[in-house]
Amino acid sequence: MKIFGVKYKKQSDEQLVKLMSKGDERAFDEIYQRYGSKLAAYFTRKLKHDKEKGEDFMHDLFAKLIDRPELFDPNRSFKTWVYSVANNMCINEYKKMAVRSNTTNGISMDIQISSKSQPIEEQLNEKNFSSDLEKVMSKLEEKHREVFIMRHIDGLSVKEVAEIMEINPGTVKSRLFYATKKIASVLQMYNPVNEE
């Protein structure tokens, strides 16, 4: 036993999960601090900007980790594992949403959520470059958009994106290249400065 205890800030994610599975609450706090907000943002973005839903999903993911820490393979990277679990949860939710949309008398859930996701301020401020970018991104294919967001907004590496998406890193690169070029070309044509 170390005299001054474990330095949680310096521990790797994998070591923290190991400690957490033994009942170390501080290790759990550290893991939550590292990934709590990131995962909440990830879920919120993936689930049509529904913040509450995003938080619920994040809660469910951590609950899963608390209840069954053995699900995590220590030989794998925790970051990759947790994002791939999050990704699978989102895929399952999409499936559920698809089923629900077929049983809601033709009322599209996407429209409701998208209306939530587009606040009035942002809708009014069309010249905001970020909202323009979001628009362009939303027009991208799902596979290209996902790679682009993971790489540039979530800050994951190409290898990590490949592991999470369970695709070849080469494919990630080509998708990333295509998405970036596409967005850049659209924004170049759009040219917000000329619109003023």
């Binding site: 009942g23 919120t44 973005r45 938080e55 970020s130 907004i153 979530d154 190409v158 290249f177």
Partner: protein
């Protein structure tokens, strides 16, 4: 390597203007942006994604954390260690040698402190060592002086009996002083006695006692009596086994041999 390359291109695009690019940098970004317009558009996209990343940071509500903490506590309720077990685990860690255990180390420190405390604030008066051998040396000195005196007396024509009486008187004085002195212990008296034996034997060796005649001389008998008187009752039993008794027996044995020699000569 590829990732690093990608990051390098990203950094070039974000940090430089198109006209600032070197030929090698232009070559490396050629694939991404072939002209200035594309370069600027790419720059805008990357900058926008960065600001989006900052904006998208969602701070989860505290209720979520609270619910998770409760769940964690419920899950590990059985495993939760008490304060006492934490204490035990700290002081007696497993898989460590006994001298590395904090409990042992603290105990040793405490022991050292406890042992040192009595010596820290003790105001002691100066205690000088008593020179036990001094008295012995004095006696030896006196003996030597007397021997020298005797020799000088001899030379001067003084009879040995007179000189012997003088010595006996002096020794008598010393012994009587010691008897009167209550501080003098039995062991000291014994030592004195031994010294007197030595005096006697020394005298014998120094031809002062003058062979067999001396055995029956009044000086020797007087000395013997004197020693017997000076010795305490408790030491009487030990006296028999002491050197003094031996010397006594040797003197008696001397008488016997002389008698036997005289008898043998008579027979012859």
């Amino acid at each position: 390597m590829k990732n690093k390359m990608e990051d390098l291109i990203k950094n070039i695009i974000l940090n430089k203007s198109y006209f600032e690019l070197t030929s090698s940098e232009q070559k490396s970004i050629q694939e991404w942006a072939s002209n200035e317009e594309e370069f600027d558009a790419l720059k805008a996209v990357l900058m926008a994604t960065q600001s989006m990343a900052d904006q998208s940071k969602v701070k989860p509500s505290s209720s979520v954390k609270q619910r998770l903490d409760d769940r964690f506590a419920a899950k590990h309720a059985g495993q939760n260690v008490t304060l006492w077990s934490k204490f035990l685990l700290f002081f007696f860690p497993k898989n460590t040698q006994f001298f590395k255990k904090p409990a042992f180390q603290l105990a040793m420190v405490a022991l050292i402190v406890i042992l040192l405390i009595p010596f820290l604030w003790q105001e002691r008066t100066a205690q000088y060592a008593m020179n036990e051998g001094q008295r012995k040396l004095e006696v030896e000195k006196v003996q030597k002086e007397r021997i020298e005196e005797r020799d000088s007396n001899k030379e001067a024509g003084q009879s040995p009996d007179e000189a012997g009486h003088k010595i006996v008187n002096e020794i008598k004085d010393i012994v009587s002083e010691q008897i009167e002195d209550p501080l003098v212990e039995d062991s000291d008296l014994e030592e004195e006695k031994l010294l007197m034996d030595e005096v006697v034997t020394y005298d014998e060796q120094a031809d002062f006692a003058l062979e067999e005649v001396e055995v029956s001389s009044p000086v020797y008998e007087e000395m013997e009596e004197l020693v017997e008187r000076s010795a305490p009752q408790s030491a009487m039993s030990r006296e028999k086994t002491s050197d003094f008794s031996l010397s006594k027996s040797t003197s008696k044995s001397k008488v016997e041999t002389s008698e036997t020699i005289s008898l043998l000569t008579a027979l012859y």
